[in-house]
Every structure is written in structure tokens, then in C-alpha cells.
Symmetry: none
Subunit: 206 residues, 4 copies
DNA sequence: AATGAATGAGTGTTCATTCAT
DNA sequence: AATGAATGAACACTCATTCAT
């Protein structure tokens, strides 16, 4: 590659890294392959990034930032929508996010299962999501003049394991599921919405 | 190590492999480390197993067999229990299983995210779980003389993403969660049961 | 293998070793394969032979002994035959020998090309053959009352490079030649005799 | 070694590989030793060559190409020389070739004895040599207005086993012979020429 | 900004050989 | 005489990373 724009080059490297990490895992990925696929010299990757590990960290940072931005936007636009319809909008936002980000989410999940990271990306993401959800709930209760319920711990657990977890699974297995059960993307999304509404949403709507 | 029993040695190797795979991932694991930790010569691992990969396959096979056995047992002992209490028993069985097997489940999940395996272990496990659950539901409806509801595809999606997925997450993040939020095992299990009952169980009980 | 006769077992091991050495070379051969092919436990090979190398040395020793025996016999039976016919008999003896022994000869040649052995088996074999040939020639000249010719060095060279060498090549490439040029064993042998007679034999017959 | 010229480095690696293969055989050779002897990092060998085996194939390819070139040149320059003298020139060319290439020829012979290669390098070389020789003979006969003799198969056999084979043996055992019998290079060459002339050359000169 | 060349430290796997029974 | 288990020392090959230009 000759004289491409520096920013463009870095972006290309990162997107190829994301692609390859998600295909073969971080440990399974080879810097040679990333370079080849990105059409750049291997040493150039080290010119832009300190190490293979920094590629990953950069991608994770970007994931966290995008997640934050998405959640903040959701919170702000929440008052505009209402009731059932409001939840569908929120749901669509989440689904769009995890679908679009599913490559790096897969990597984040795989890495989060290792016993090294003091605080895994997925746990961080979980914290973010849980807080956002609780904030939304609080507002909803407020709006209706209700008292926000008690046991916080249980709520956290619920948000993580029955709220976030299905979305993560969606990101992780959407493609395999579609291939395995012969469903197209839209159908799967609708089934998933239906299931999610009947379970998680129903459970904590006031 | 001298002339240990062959079966014992193989078992030791496998359990250490499981431990290490779950700690650093399959690709991150070193056969040297497995050998050292198991207290055997590295070559002995290759005397019993064709390759590092076969260690993994053996562990996965065992996981699938154990899962099948557990599900079959659950189905058979189902009639003995009833209603809410019955579900708690079932839930406890599942929780015990994923807790006990969480090391290899973590590995299975991480590996299932790679784009190689035609049918990932997790998808297989998903199929098993879904079938068992549907069978249970069908019996429950029958018992009460009700008609088993319609849309199969949606049911499958629900079982996988809101039924199995939280359990997988429990296996994956139980330890991190306890450490992060300062909950002990029993409390987490109870919160999780409470959340799971309110969401998934409530949703498809007749 | 259970309670086979010791001598039989050793013989089986040696013959399999010869077979495998000739197929993949000494360095390419694995003791495991020899054991498997011979139907014996690998450790048993070390019970009978000090090392893989000793297998080779045993085979080489046997080759040298057989070669000596063959040459001595030839010398002794020489007076019985005469002239052209006598040479054909001698030729047939040689051809039979190198054909029958071609497996170990291949190994001997391959090993002889390495720069370790102070005196390669092939050079030893060469010495044997040269001496025998010169002895035969001397007798032939004597019989006819002729004076045995002069330059010894040149004679040695001739016996080795145009006398022995074609026979070695025959042992080495007989099978490949038959396959490559679609000749059967008998035809090749006859062509070879014809060629050898016209060249080497003609050259030093009185 | 720092930033040597790439071509030079590849050449160095190849020549060291040739040296070591010829000393201890292909299977006996260690890539570590090649690297050390060539003064390069082992990984650099794999930067230039796919595998140890490719080193060998590269050397064999070069041998075949050089042989072709040598034979073509010989054929072209043949008309310039004549009769006995012409053959001496041809002989010298061959001797120079096999002497100069004897290292890789030894390796080629040793490898050709294994039962894997569908068509061994030596058999290929044999084909080349045979064709060239027959071409030369045909021209010689033509020049003298003679009819080129009949049985082709026998001619092939003769060229291979009494024409090429002594040259191969010369390449293979020249050094050992000189050491063993205390002859110097020139003397051996002359004896060999004398022997070859009396046998093979005499036999098929018109 | 970009690259071809080079390297140190692994990494899974193999293999001749030995041990204990 | 025979064997399953065990081992040390390699071995071919890999890979993240750096150097020189």
C-alpha cells in the first residue's frame, strides 16, 4: 500500500484485526495475516500500534465508547417515545448495536472468559448496561408516580442475566442460528423480540 | 511420576487441560504447562492423546455426554415433582450442572465463537437443551389437558436466548460476578432463580 | 506376539527393519513402525538389540558375510565352467545376489554416502568384489598361460567403476526401471547382461 | 548477520544446506545446523523457504537445470570435436560436472532410493543423460553414413547401467576412493577415463 | 510513511530409549 | 520373553517484534 492516508490506514488495520480476531480468536490471530489482509507491511502495524495486544485494546476501547454513546443517546431520546412502542424502539437500538458490533463483541466475550483480566470488558459492558436500564426503569416509575422497588442486588442480577445476556447471545450466535435453523435475519429478530418482551420486559414493567 | 495407573493418568491430564484451557483459552494454553501441572512428561500426553486438539475434543465429548445424561435424568424424574416446586428442582439441577461444568463450558463458548466449526458445541448443547425443555413443556400441557401452543420457531428462539442463555452466562460470569459485586454463591443463585422465574419461567408456564 | 521362538522373533524384527530402512532410509525409519510391522512390542526390540543403530549394523554384517560366502562359492565353482558360458554363470550369480539383497544394498549405498563412516559398507563390498574379480582374472590368464597385465591401480578402478558399479545400480534402480520403462524382470536382466558383456566383460577378457 | 543482500543470503543458505545434506543425509540434517553454519537465524530460512523439504527441492531443481544446460552445451559443441579426442572432451565435461555437483548428487542418489518419489531425481537425470547420449550416437552414425542400430530398449539399459552409472559412482565415491586407495584426483580421473573408454565407449563406437 | 530482512523465544510434536512388572 | 508406561532431548516450524533503510 502506497501513501494512503494515515488515518485511513490505521482504520483499515483495525477493521481487519477485528475481522480476524473474531474469526480465529485473539490468540489464534497472526499479525502476518492481518497485515496481508489489510494490504500493508507487517512492520507498519507496529509503526501505528505498540503491539498486537494494543490492537485489541484499541478495539475494546472503541467498543466501550460506542456502547456508552449508544446508551446515552437512548436515555436522552427515551422521553419522546412511550409504553410498549418505546420499548420496541429501545430494543431495536440495542439489537442494531449488538448486531453491528457482533464481531468485536465475540472477541470481548471470548477474552472475558480468561482468568487474567481483573475486570473483563463484558463485565464493564454489563455495568454500563445495568446502570442504563435501571435509570430507564426509575424514570418510568417516576413518570407514573410509582415508588421504585427495593432489592437492588436482585435487580442487578436480573438485568445482567436475563436482560443483557440474551443480547450478548444474540450477537454471539445470530449468524450460527440463522444458518442452523434456516431463519432469516428479520424473522430471528422478531422472534427474539417477542421472546424478550414476554420474558424480561414483561417481568419488570410496572 | 512412576507407573501410575493409566486411567488415573489420563484423567489427571484431562482435568489439568480443562483447568488450563479455561484459564487462558485453548490457543493460549501450552502443552508444556499442562504436562508440568499434571506432573507428567510432555511426551506422555502425546502417548495418550493424538494432539492438543484431541484433548479439547475429548473434553467436549464428555461435556456433551454429561449434558445428555443430566437432561435425560431430569426428564425421567420430572413426574415426581410438581408445579412451582418442580421447576425449582429442575432449576437446581441445571444450575448445579453449569456450575460444576463451568470451566469446560467457558472453553466451549470461547471456541464456539470462532468461524471454523461447522456446528459449535454450544449450538449442539443448545439443541439438546431446547428439545428437553420443549419435551417438558409438552408434558406439562398434556398433564393439564391443555393444547400445546403454536409457533415452534419462536419457541426455539425463546428457549435458546432467554432460557439457555442466562444459564450459560451464569456459568461464564458467576465467579467474576461474585467477586465484582461481593455476593456469595448462594445469594447469587437465589437472585438468579428469582430473576429467571419472573422472566423465562413465568412466560411459558401454562 | 506371544511366546514366539526367540530366533524367529529376532529374524522377524530384522527383516522388517530391512524392509522399512529400505523404504524410508535409516534416519527416516521409526522404531515404532518396525515394532508395529513386526507385531512385537517396541521394548522387545531393545531387548534383542542394543539400539536402532545395532539393527543396521547387524544387517550390514549379514550382508558382508553373505557377500563373502557368495564370492568364495563363485571362485570355487569357477573351474567347472568355461569361457563365455562361465561368465554368464558368474553374472547370474551376481545378479541373483544383488537382486535378492537389493533392499539392504539400497540402505548400504545411502548410508555409504554420508561423511561419517570411516570405511563405508559399499567400499568394503567394493574391496571384496575387486579382489574376487582380480583373482578370477588371474586364474583365467594362468589357465591360458598368459601374463597377467600390469597397472594394478587402473584395474582396481575399472573393477569398481565399470564392474561393480553397474551391479549396484541394478540393485538400486531395478524396480524403478521396470516400472518406468515397462520392462519385465527377465528382459531387463537380459539387456543388462548384453550390455555388461559388451562393455566390461569384453574389455578385460584375454 | 545484518542486512545482507537477499539473493546472497538465499544462496548461502542453499549452499550450506547442500553441504550438510550431503554430509549427513536429508533426514539426518538439522535446520538448526544449517542456520548456524550459514550464520543466519533459523527463522530466516523459513522466511525464504517454505520448509526443509523445499530446500531440497530447490537444490534438485537446480541440479536438473544445470544438467540440462550442460548436456545441451555438449551437444552443440560436439561437431567441433572429432573421434577419440571428441569423446575425451565430452568425458571431461561429464566428469567436471559430476565432480563439481557431487554433493547434491549424493543427496539425490540417497533420496532416490526411498520408496516414495514417483519418479526419482536420478531416474530423471538418467532419462536426460540417455537421450543426450543417444542423440550423440545418432549424429556420429549419420556423420559416417552408417545406419543407427536397432534394439532401443537394450541401448537405454546400456546407457543407464554402463554409461551413466559409472559417472554416478564416480561422484559418489571419488573422495572415499582417493582416501582409501591413496590416489590423487588427477590419477583417479585418468584411470577412470581409461576404464570407461575400454568398456562403455569402445562398446558402442561405430 | 513504509518496507524487506532479520531474530529470540517459543510451540506442538516426535522419537529413540528405558523402566517396572 | 514380553509389555504398557514413561521420559529427555530434540526437531521442524511459528510468531510477535525489531532493525536498517
Amino acid at each position: 500500500m502506497k501513501k494512503r492516508d494515515a488515518i485511513e490506514t490505521k482504520a483499515k488495520i483495525l477493521s481487519v484485526a477485528e475481522e480476524i480476531f473474531s474469526k480465529v480468536g485473539f490468540d489464534g490471530a497472526r499479525v502476518d495475516d492481518i497485515a496481508a489482509e489489510a494490504g500493508v507491511n507487517k512492520a507498519l502495524i507496529y509503526y501505528y500500534f505498540k503491539s498486537k495486544n494494543e490492537l485489541l485494546k484499541t478495539l475494546f476501547t472503541r467498543l466501550m465508547e460506542d456502547a456508552k454513546r449508544m446508551l446515552v443517546n437512548s436515555l436522552q431520546s427515551l422521553p419522546d417515545v412511550d409504553g410498549e412502542n418505546g420499548y420496541r424502539v429501545l430494543f431495536d437500538t440495542y439489537i442494531r448495536f449488538v448486531t453491528h458490533k457482533r464481531k468485536i463483541i465475540k472477541v470481548a466475550v471470548a477474552e472475558s472468559l480468561k482468568e487474567e483480566t481483573p475486570m473483563s470488558v463484558v463485565m464493564e459492558l454489563g455495568g454500563l448496561f445495568i446502570n442504563a436500564e435501571i435509570e430507564i426503569l426509575r424514570k418510568e416509575y417516576e413518570k407514573k408516580g410509582l415508588h421504585f422497588p427495593g432489592n437492588q442486588q436482585e435487580l442487578l442480577v436480573m438485568e445482567f442475566f436475563t436482560g443483557l445476556s440474551p443480547f450478548l447471545s444474540y450477537a454471539m450466535y445470530k449468524d450460527q442460528w440463522e444458518a442452523q435453523y434456516g431463519v432469516n435475519e428479520e424473522a430471528l429478530r422478531n422472534y427474539f423480540y417477542s421472546a424478550f418482551r414476554k420474558t424480561h420486559l414483561t417481568a419488570h414493567l410496572p
